[in-house]
Structures are given as structure tokens and as C-alpha cells.
Amino acid sequence: MPIQVLMPALSPTMEKGNLAKWLKKEGETIKSGDVIAEIETDKATMEVEATDEGTLGKILIPEGTADVAVNTPIATILSDGESAADLAKAPAPAAPKQEAAPAAEAKSETKAEAPAAAPAAPAAVAAPDPEIPAGTEMVTQTIREALRDAMAEEMRRDGDVFIMGEEVAEYQGAYKITQGLLQEFGARRVIDTPITEHGFAGVGVGAAMTGLKPIVEFMTFNFAMQAIDQIINSAAKTLYMSGGQMGCSIVFRGPNGAAARVAAQHSQDYAAWYSQIPGLKVIAPYSAADYKGLLKAAIRDPNPVIFLENEVLYGHSGEVPVGDFVVPIGKARVARSGKDVTIVSWAMGMSYALKAADELAKEGIEAEVVDLRTIRPMDTETIIASVKKTGRAVTVEEGWQQSGVGAEVAARIMEHAFDYLDAPVARVSGKDVPMPYAANLEKLALPSVAEVVAAAKAVAYR
């Protein structure tokens, strides 16, 4: 029976890609290892190698097709003795999603993860921001592009701003966040470092102490564990220890929290860790506009800022104001209005919160969703105003519950709005386990829309 070649997943978070080019024609002989096509992901162009031998029977997805979902059949290969007539025997294109590994493997210089059926990530749908004046010209951008533009704009504006980190320059960013920056700003200001987090974090802080404004990219915040001493002991505390003489204007940024199927050491959420430290500001945006506006604010801020991104969201698009758009640090945003229950979340947690709000609306429960955006300083006022209105609150986070950000939000609600509460605050969070690899267990370890819905109903006694 003819073999189907499926659209491969070329990274842990890839959901779709563009079929850039076919390098083999229908009827051509294919040997194992032949490059048959080029696929563009949001990060790179990758070659697809055949793992089966035979003849390219039929191209199912023509070159130039954009947004081809992972696991979609893109071609069929005929084995010896088979002919075009056998093509009919191939399974219908609507093949079962997770059956049979794709008959092709990705090959790239660095990442060659086995094709994985990543759990469908929620789309970043954000309600219009009341802070953006009506009539503002908007552009649809991926969060990846919004981050790059934020850095490029600030680097054009201020010669003291530079970026350093692993693969930020020549490779164009491990997650392609710094694409084009080396070309525009040169190697003096876009600096590839060795793999040496502790060391280059210290170098960045030292440079910042002289008044430069480094952006230090960690390939992921999991690796920043090696640098956490410099972040906390040197960056966060020096202003205080020097009696206000010497500060540190620096941004530490990179993906944080769970991506997809990367297991325990690459899936931790550090929001609660950094949010404990006086002297640091901690930002964890969700919408594309906030990613841009808050990164620009972080770069201009004269203090050390932890800017937590989410790899799953990088490829997601949203409306971003054109021009010099800066979002104030420390201001939450009411992403959706409602009167029955307040859902407080931030970063990736917002995707569960917003979907849950949709579900709840179907059952007649109007949830108000507050996007914290900044974890420290925390906008207690916006949380409390909402809870006073609804009398009920649920927090949603991917991080762990103990000493988590949700625990802090719950404590503040208790302190400032106890008499307004009609039910105890409920917390939805990542489960109290290291992140498992198996797809089903990983799904269980993360919060779900159903859990948020159940928690909201519980506090609403519905």
C-alpha cells in the first residue's frame, strides 16, 4: 500500500508550517535520506528527508501552501511494484491524527526532535485593550515579531541598549526572537555568548552598573537557575546595598514555564520565584500588544526586570498598535468584564481563563477575567475592585500551588476584600509534581479549562 508522508512537527511547540518547496517531482525515484521538501516553520526553514524508498506517487500539498497542520498527509510514496493506480488505496487524507509516525524526519543543524503530536495550544485571543485609544493603527503580528520590534525600536532609540545571550546574533535567536537584529545593529550590540549563564548574567549586571542597559536573553528561564545568584544578589539588591548610589537597568528575558513535551527540567514556571524579590520587577504578559508594550517599558525601566515569555505563545498572533506603544509596568488589565466571578490569571494561564469564561457564559455565569500582566509590583487595586464587584475569585496559573503567585493573590484578596467574599478563593494551578514527559500525564499536570470552569462554579455555588 502506498506510504503517506505526513507534515512533520519540527519543534516541541510547532502546530503548523508552510510547505516552501518540493525538491522531488511526482514519478521521481526516492531513496532513504533524500531531501524531498523544505518546510518553513515560524523559526526556520527545515529539510524533510525521506525515510522510505520508492517513487513519489502524488504530491498532496502543493508548494507554497501556508499553515499546513502537523500530521496532514503531504505526499504519497509508492513502493516497488506499485503504480499510480494504487494511490486510491492510500488512506483518506483525514488520517487519524496520532496514528503512525510521519514517514519523514526533519533534519536541521541543531534541533531534530522526533515529530511529536503537540497538544493543541490555545490561541491567544485578547479582548481590545481599553488603554489603546480608539482609532490607533493596529497591525497583526506574532508575539515573536512583537518582541523583536520592541527590542529593535528601543535599540534605535538608545545606544546604551544592547542584547546578549546564547545564539542571539548569528543564529538569529534559538526561538528566532532576535531575527534581523545582528544585521541592523551589528556585532557590537548583538552579542553571542558562550553557554555560560552564570558568567554572562554577571557580565550583563556589571555592564549595567556602569549605566549601560543590557537585555540578557536566556534560552529558557530554566537555564537562568545557573545565573540566579547574579540576578538576585547582584542585580536586585545593589541599589539598596549602595544606599541608592548604584542601580542596575537590565532586562532578563526568555521563555518560561511549560512548552510542550520537554519534561521536568525544561518546563518550570519561575514567576513565583522572582516575584518574591524586592528590587526586581516581574512581567509575564499574554497578549501580543502587551508583549510589545511591556518589553519596551522593561527596557526603559531603570531597575532590573524579569520578563517571562512563553514559547507556546511565540507563534501566536494578535493586534499590536503601530508606533511607540508602551504599556505601564504594574497595571493589570480587565480582559473580560463580568459580574459573577473574578478569574485572576497572567501569561499562559490567561488562555485557560478566557476559554473557561466562554464556557461559563454558556451556563449563564459571567466571569470577569483579570490579566495581571505584571507580577511584581502587583496591581492589587484592580484585583480588589473586581472581587468587590463579584464576591468570588479563582486564580489560574501553570506554576505550582505552594507559595505560588495564586497564593499571593488569594492572600491579598483575603486582606483587602475579606468582607466582600461570598466564598473562599479557589486556586487552579499546575499539579504538585515535576513535569512528566508522557503526553497524557503532561496534560494532567497542567491546568485545564475544565478545572477553571469547575472552580468558578464551586465558588459561585452553582
Binding site: 556602569t210 549602595s242 548604584m246
Partner: protein, 344 residues
């Protein structure tokens, strides 16, 4: 087991390695000798006074004295120019005084008073002066090495010819980030002088018990960073080595390592009884190699009168006594300072 070698520091410095300074260092002029004497005496008297105040309970927490090591920072400083940066660890009082920071401000910081360099909020290990380009004062062993490399990075970024001097001890020399920094500094040719103050003990652990490679000047070898062993008890030797390293860095050739072979007379901190070495060992270094006595003896030999030398000591004592007085009478920080200087 204290396996400290009983040989003298100077003898160690004279070891016949390719990297050690050979023969006698260039002579100082009389003015240089007098300057070195005054600077070293200021540090010694200041530290003696700090020790006293600690004993009286006026200084709290940790207090690490620099007594015995004065020639290192004084000799280094004599080779620097305005604009060069200095950063060090927690044994930092001597570095601050050598950078020209006021004794009053340093002592008042030790006593936790509002007139201290950090308004009393930093203490012994955390003082800074933007004006004097002194970048601290760091309490995490080895952290200042990456930070000091960052200061050099900033010089290169700005395209100036300033040099950063990062001091650390034989103990810190075993921290991982030191080597991460060495790698980047040589890779990017950063103008940083790594001054390893080898005082033979990392707290209570002698170099021989903690270090596989005891020649610290070779610690940059695998990164191609040149290094030199220096008699850190002879201020002239320190100055000569510093001149060489500064010239190397200013010329854009990258980092340079100076191992200063020195000795601390006191314990690691005020609470250290120093049982890991013998009284005789300390006495021998004091008697044979004291950095201040070396200069005094040379000056006397050159015809400077005992009277003149006593005048230097008297002037220094007056500064130190005044600082002790200030530090004990200056008010504590206003309680409102608890919540200032967290963000700007």
C-alpha cells in the same frame, strides 16, 4: 590538617617559574615610598580601629580585616588612572580607602550609620562609590569576577581606554564563574586585570588543601590569558606588575592575571580564631615581610628621619580616630530609609 608550607611568602614569590617576576623590582622614588607608606598605614590603622570597634560591639555582623595585605591594593592603585574601575569581594575596606573614599564614610558604614557610604544599609561588605569608580563590596564569593568582567565589557562597548580591576582571593579562584569570565574576557579581549590575592587560606582551608593548581598565575592558561606571580608583600613589585598588566589591557590585548602572594595577619573574619595555622607562622611573616616595615626600613636607609615617619603615622591616626568618633556619633539611618532605594 593545616598543611601550610612554612616557607616565607617572598620565597614562594621567588619561585623559578616563567611567570614570576625575576630579581628586585624597580626602586620607588622617595615620594612614591612616602605615598605608599601613608596609604598602607591608613589602611592598617583603620583596620586596627575597626577591629577595636567590633570588639566593643559598635560594628556588627561580619567584618573581614585586610591587615597584612595592604601592599597589594596600594601598589595596584598606583598604576591606575582616574576612570579605571575597581571591584572586590567582602574584604574590601582597604580597597575603598586606596580608591580615595573617605575614612569617615567607610567607618560610619561599618557602624551602620546614616553618614556611611550606603547610608548604613550595606555594611562592611557592601559599599560603593560612583565618584571613585569603586563598584563594591560583594558578599558572594566569586560574583565580583563576572561583574568586574562586565565593567570591562562596558569600557570596550564605549570604546574608552579604561581598565577594570577585579580582585578576588585564592578561595574564590575555585569558583566556576571565574572561568566563565576568563573565557569571555579573552574571547572578547576585555580590558580587565584579575588580581588574585593569594593569602594562603580560604577561610580556614589552606591553598594546598583546596587547589589542584596552586600556581594561580596559571589559572588562565587554558584561555591563553597571561599571568604573573608577584610578591604581594613588596609594594614596588606590585606596582611594577600592575604597570605591565595595565599597559597590556589598555593596548587592547585582553585580560591579565596577577597572582599576589600575600598574607592576612588576622582571622578570616572577626569571629575566626584561626586555629588552622600556628602563631609562629603568622609571626614569621610579620617579622620578615611586613609590607609597611619594608617601606619604613627603605625610607630610613635613604635618610628619612624617624621623626618624619612618625609624623606620617600621626596624621593617619588622626584621620582614623576622627572616623571612629564620627562613626559612633553619627545617627543611625532614619527609619524611613527602610523603604527607600529598592527601586528608582
Amino acid at each position: 590538617m593545616a598543611a601550610a608550607p612554612k616557607k616565607s611568602v617572598a620565597k614562594e614569590a621567588g619561585q623559578d617559574t616563567a611567570s614570576s617576576s625575576a630579581g628586585s623590582p624597580p626602586e620607588f622614588t622617595k615620594e612614591q615610598e612616602l605615598k605608599a607608606l601613608r596609604e598602607m598605614l591608613l589602611i592598617r590603622r583603620f583596620e586596627e580601629k575597626a577591629g577595636q570597634l567590633y570588639g566593643m560591639g559598635a560594628i556588627g555582623g561580619f567584618c573581614h580585616l585586610y591587615i597584612g595585605q595592604e601592599a597589594v591594593v596600594v601598589g595596584m592603585q598606583m598604576a591606575l588612572k582616574q576612570g579605571d574601575q575597581v571591584i572586590t569581594g567582602y574584604r574590601d575596606h582597604g580597597h575603598m580607602l586606596a580608591c580615595g573614599m573617605e575614612a569617615n564614610g567607610v567607618m560610619a558604614e561599618l557602624t551602620g550609620r546614616r553618614g556611611g557610604y550606603s547610608k548604613g544599609k550595606g555594611g562592611s561588605m557592601h559599599m560603593f562609590s560612583m565618584e571613585k569608580n569603586f563598584y563594591g563590596g560583594h558578599g558572594i564569593v566569586g560574583a565580583q569576577v563576572s561583574l568586574g568582567t562586565g565593567l570591562a565589557f562596558a569600557n570596550r562597548y564605549r570604546g574608552n581606554d579604561f581598565v577594570s580591576v577585579a580582585y578576588f582571593g585564592d578561595g574564590a579562584a575555585n569558583q566556576g564563574q571565574v572561568y566563565e569570565s576568563f573565557n569571555m574576557a579573552e574571547l572578547w579581549k576585555l580590558p580587565v586585570i584579575y588580581v588574585i590575592e593569594n593569602n594562603r587560606y580560604a577561610m580556614g582551608t589552606s591553598v594546598s588543601r583546596a587547589s589542584a593548581q596552586q600556581d594561580f598565575s596559571k589559572r588562565g592558561a587554558s584561555f591563553n590569558i597571561p599571568g604573573k606571580q608577584v610578591d604581594g608583600m613588596d609594594v614596588r613589585a606590585v606596582k611594577a606588575a600592575a604597570d605591565e598588566a595595565v599597559a597590556w589591557c589598555r593596548a587592547g590585548k585582553g585580560p591579565f592575571i596577577l597572582e599576589m602572594q600575600t598574607y592576612r595577619y588576622r582571622g578570616h573574619s572577626m569571629s575566626d580564631p584561626a586555629k588552622y595555622r600556628t602563631r609562629e607562622e603568622v609571626e614569621k611573616v610579620r617579622h620578615d615581610q611586613d609590607p609597611i616595615e619594608q617601606v619604613r626600613n627603605r625610607l630610613l636607609k635613604a635618610g628619612v628621619s624617624e621623626q618624619d615617619l612618625k609624623a606620617v603615622d600621626a596624621e593617619v591616626r588622626e584621620i582614623v580616630n576622627a572616623s571612629a568618633d564620627f562613626a559612633q556619633h553619627d545617627p543611625e539611618p532614619d527609619v524611613s530609609e527602610l523603604y527607600t532605594d529598592i527601586y528608582r
